[in-house]
Amino acid sequence: MKLKEKIIEFLLKLCASITILTTIGIIAVLLFESISFFKSVSILEFFSDTQWTPLFSEKHFGILSLLSGTFLTSAIAIAVALPIGLTIAIYLNMYAPKSFRKTLKPFLEILAAIPTVVYGFFALSIVTPFLQTIYPDLETFNSLSAGLVMGIMIIPFISSLSEDALYAVPKSLKEAAFGMGSTRFQTAIKVMVPAASSGIIVSVILAISRAIGETMIVAIAAGQQAQFSLNPTIPTQTITSYIVQVSMGDAPQGSIEYKTIFAAGLTLFLFTFLLNTVSFWIKKKYQEKYE
């Protein structure tokens, strides 16, 4: 009987250890190919060259173009999602009657459940033509549409996490502010948001991490030209859409083109890992505050 218990515990432990194996696997795969990559390409060139053309005959390996594409689309996304998401969070937490909140929240959750490939289609086939009526010089593939739609996708992220952060603020603070005659707006801006700031910051960091890791929206709508530029009306390429481009092609295993996706992937992984870790520590610190 004791043996059976021990065997079961061992099997369950094995299941749990697969999570560690996954992380080790990710790091191993990315490092293995990247190290091989950096034997041919110097790290200096990787980080300083402003051209990224591994698939052309004249090869440049400067990740800055991909980084600028990633940065541009994510920045537009956050610029859209943060004000709207935060406003929604404050509104739902402090103004909306309970019934209103209850019926509206599911809709926001639906936004979060839509597959990103659908958003990509939406961006290319509907948003871009619409924007072109306003600004005819907008190219078919551009980072503006992609960024806007990514922002829409991220709104529920920020609004939901920020709302949780606001909800966690002790009622006593709210009541103190109201008791002194503050309006809801003043209470929100001067008391609630500052008190919930670490939770809100966490939501923004996680949203950024989500945005830079997003693939399909940019792969469909932003184009496939790596450009070192901040112009949102021209095509651009992010780290993620570059990886898609190569995967759909015929890069043979072991070729330099094949290795570039791992080097680019490693860069992406390091950024998201950093962001996720920072948000984890902030969350831990702020949870202790209200325990």
């Binding site: 996954t22 992380t23 990710i26 639906i110 459940a113 290319l124 086939s125 707006f185």
Partner: protein
């Protein structure tokens, strides 16, 4: 206007803005759905579902994509569910609070935030190349399983946490072993939450495209896969390929395929939410 009036005005204005922003979210959702349906609805019919893809947009159908999606989901379920529940059980019921268990928790939280395309690279390096499974359904399913594992683990843990400790005490006091208690008391009580988590994770997996592209889901698969090692296509991938084709007919086909994908996704999410409400009421 004195200070008080000014503040009142700002308050009322913000209330307006807040309501508009919230309604904006819904409005965008409506616009998105309306436009997609408008583009694609004409092609949503049985022919479409039962046809193979084709180079001619009018004849292209999603048959292989649907079969591929179903096969992939089935395999993913087989891999991800036992491992996910097992890991959740271990972390919640066996792992003592130690440096190791904290490490495991941090690791899972991190894995949940890793971009899905990185999972694709993982699948490419390990399953496709290292294990030699090639760009097959097997590789795709294993990759997706790893992707949704953190979701299932977290859902399992939350569901188990909600079981009152007094029930476990009662079971132990009657002479049950740890595994008997988990099997007969804890798991049955937490099954609602676990099933909800599983459905949500699968609904997420159905819509995943990027990792499968990297693993090698082929863009043009005009045959139905027969074995675990065949190449395959899934619905979101089909949508992607059609979206990137210039012909207008393919845009319509993409729209139609999206309608079907959204239908499946919303159905699954709806079931999960319904189950969650039912289960939460049972606990009260």
């Amino acid at each position: 206007m004195n200070n008080l009036q000014k503040n009142r005005l700002i308050d009322a204005a913000f209330k307006m803005v807040g309501m508009l922003c919230t309604l904006l979210g819904i409005l965008i959702l409506v616009i998105l759905l309306y436009n997609i349906i408008r583009v694609g609805y004409t092609r949503v019919n049985w022919d479409f579902i039962s046809s193979l893809p084709s180079r001619k947009p009018e004849e292209a159908g999603i048959y292989t994509a649907i079969i591929g999606t179903l096969d992939l989901m089935l395999l993913t379920i087989i891999f991800a569910i036992p491992i996910g529940i097992g890991a959740g059980l271990y972390l919640e019921e066996y792992a003592k609070k130690s440096r190791l268990s904290t490490l495991l928790e941090i690791n899972i939280a991190n894995l949940a935030g890793v971009p899905s395309i990185i999972y694709g690279l993982l699948g490419l390096g390990i399953f496709v190349r290292f294990f030699g499974f090639g760009g097959s359904i097997l590789s795709g399913a294993l990759t997706l399983s790893l992707l949704i594992l953190p979701i299932i683990i977290v859902a399992t843990r939350e569901a188990i946490k909600a079981v009152p400790p007094s029930l476990k005490e009662a079971s132990f006091a009657l002479g049950a072993s740890k595994w008997q208690t988990l099997q007969k008391v804890v798991l049955p009580s937490s099954s609602g939450g676990i099933v909800t988590g599983i459905i949500l994770s699968l609904s997420r997996a159905i819509g995943e495209t990027a990792p499968l592209i990297v693993v090698g889901a082929m863009a043009y698969v005009p045959f139905v896969p027969h074995s675990l090692f065949d190449t395959f296509s899934v619905l979101p991938m089909q949508i992607f390929t059609w979206t990137t084709r210039p012909q207008a007919g393919f845009a319509i086909a993409a729209g139609a395929a999206i309608i079907i994908l959204l239908g499946i996704t919303f159905l699954m999410n709806g079931i999960a939410v319904y189950l969650r409400n039912k289960w939460q009421n049972k606990l009260q």
